[in-house]
């Protein structure tokens, strides 16, 4: 999961920590400032930091740093949507990871749906987190699970899988059909499929 600020500080070098201090201060300032931004306004300084986090803090820490920035700036759905659509794949991933704690309702679902349309497994894996578990409707959620199996995204990436998959007869049918298709082609059935199928088969059928 996303490390805390303290854990991140312990991992970052001095220059990266100083950079992060400044970036978080700018984000905090943006969160409290009463400014009348317009759609055409230049991006705030913290948003530029959001883009450049990888090269200043290391790509391995970029998800954590970007998520912290989004929290500190109290990014709303409009801001998250803009950052997603203007972002690299790495930036889009950070937005997706931050959704559960920043957006209480389903308003950001279009971003999840956009990510699920890609074949980029970094985005697919981030899209099936707790936000999708809470808000994604049954049909697209089932297709998201199936897409994970198709693209070899580990099924552990799917948040709240036991609850969402429990006794889902339609999901069980889709999984069984997929297993049959693989078998007919002489190809192995992904091991993760059996795990999900065991959850999805309604009790009276199991």
């Amino acid at each position: 999961m996303t490390p805390t600020r303290k854990e991140l500080d312990d991992r970052l070098g001095g220059a990266a920590r100083a950079w992060l201090d400044e970036a978080l201060a700018e984000a905090a300032h943006a969160a409290t400032a009463t400014h009348g931004t317009t759609p055409c306004a230049a991006p705030p300084s913290w948003a530029l930091r959001f883009a450049s986090a990888g090269r200043h803090c290391g790509q391995e820490h970029a998800d954590a740093v970007r998520t912290l920035l989004l929290h500190e700036a109290r990014a709303d759905v409009d801001t998250l949507t803009r950052l997603y659509h203007h972002g690299t794949a790495a930036e889009r991933r950070a937005v997706l990871l931050a959704l559960p704690s920043l957006v209480p309702g389903p308003q950001a679902l279009p971003l999840v749906e956009d990510a699920l349309r890609t074949n980029d497994t970094r985005l697919v894996a981030a899209a099936v987190g707790p936000y999708a578990a809470a808000h994604l409707a049954p049909h697209p959620w089932r297709h998201a699970v199936l897409k994970c199996l198709f693209t070899a995204v580990p099924i552990d990436a799917v948040a709240d899988l036991p609850r969402r998959a429990h006794a889902d007869a339609e999901l069980a049918r889709m999984l069984a059909d997929y297993a049959a298709e693989r078998t007919a082609a002489g190809r192995p059935v992904p091991a993760d499929l059996h795990r999900v199928l065991a959850l999805a088969v309604p009790p009276e059928e199991s």
Binding site: L48, S52, T88, A89, N119, A125, F150, T151, A152
Partner: protein, 282 residues
Amino acid sequence: MRIFDPHIHMTSRTTDDYQAMYDAGVRALVEPSFWLGQPRTSPASFFDYFDALLGWEPFRAAQYGIAHHCTIALNPKEANDPRCAPVLDALPRYLVKDSVVAVGEIGYDSMTPAEDTALAAQLQLAADHGLPALVHTPHRDKLAGLRRTLDVVRESHLPPERVLLDHLNETTVKEATDSGAWLGFSIYPDTKMDEDRMVAILKAYGTERVLVNSAADWGKSDPLKTRKVGDAMLAAGFSDDDVDQVLWRNPVAFYGLSGRLPLDLPTPGALHEGNSILRGGE
């Protein structure tokens, strides 16, 4: 032999190419934004293309153990279409991205006033964003185009040692060398340079500041030309260290001027999160 192809348009290439490049020693590359063969008619078309250079294409490259970086710009040919010119206004938001290691390809195609404007504006953008610039020299009227390019560079805030002049040949190498810029050579099956002529230029001018690329794209081109130049250099008596300088250290040094080139690249054999390119399940 480790190879950094400093100019290749992977958007137009197949996964077989990625595999063959990896097998030949390519571990990193830069994909400059350029013309796609079919003229674009709106800025939105550029933005989808830039987003692909920052999203999907690096993901594809990673499946084959190749680190992918890019350069972003409005190319000179399409700078002449007023429908596309507004792309210039959107470039700043792309030039801050982590994997953008230069502004490019900029330069001249037909040497028009619109190209003058776009070249000067984008050299300034490079200076403003701490980026070097990849400058395409024109196919037609090349020497005159090089001279006009150098005039614009001299008038800019970007010093020549942060400029890579690309697609050079026997007629332009002398003046390009004297300018203090980095020297790029594109090796093609029929046009531009070939391996043996490249070796002759390296013998005459040395290996310093010289970058060799395949510039492979949607036309007749060969993504393994970098390796073929390395082999030709060795056959001609150059050392392994000379080859490494031209095919690895020089491109790393030039694009490293951006401060955005990760120094830990690449990890041979790495697959992104253990995954491969999948199209509908296989």
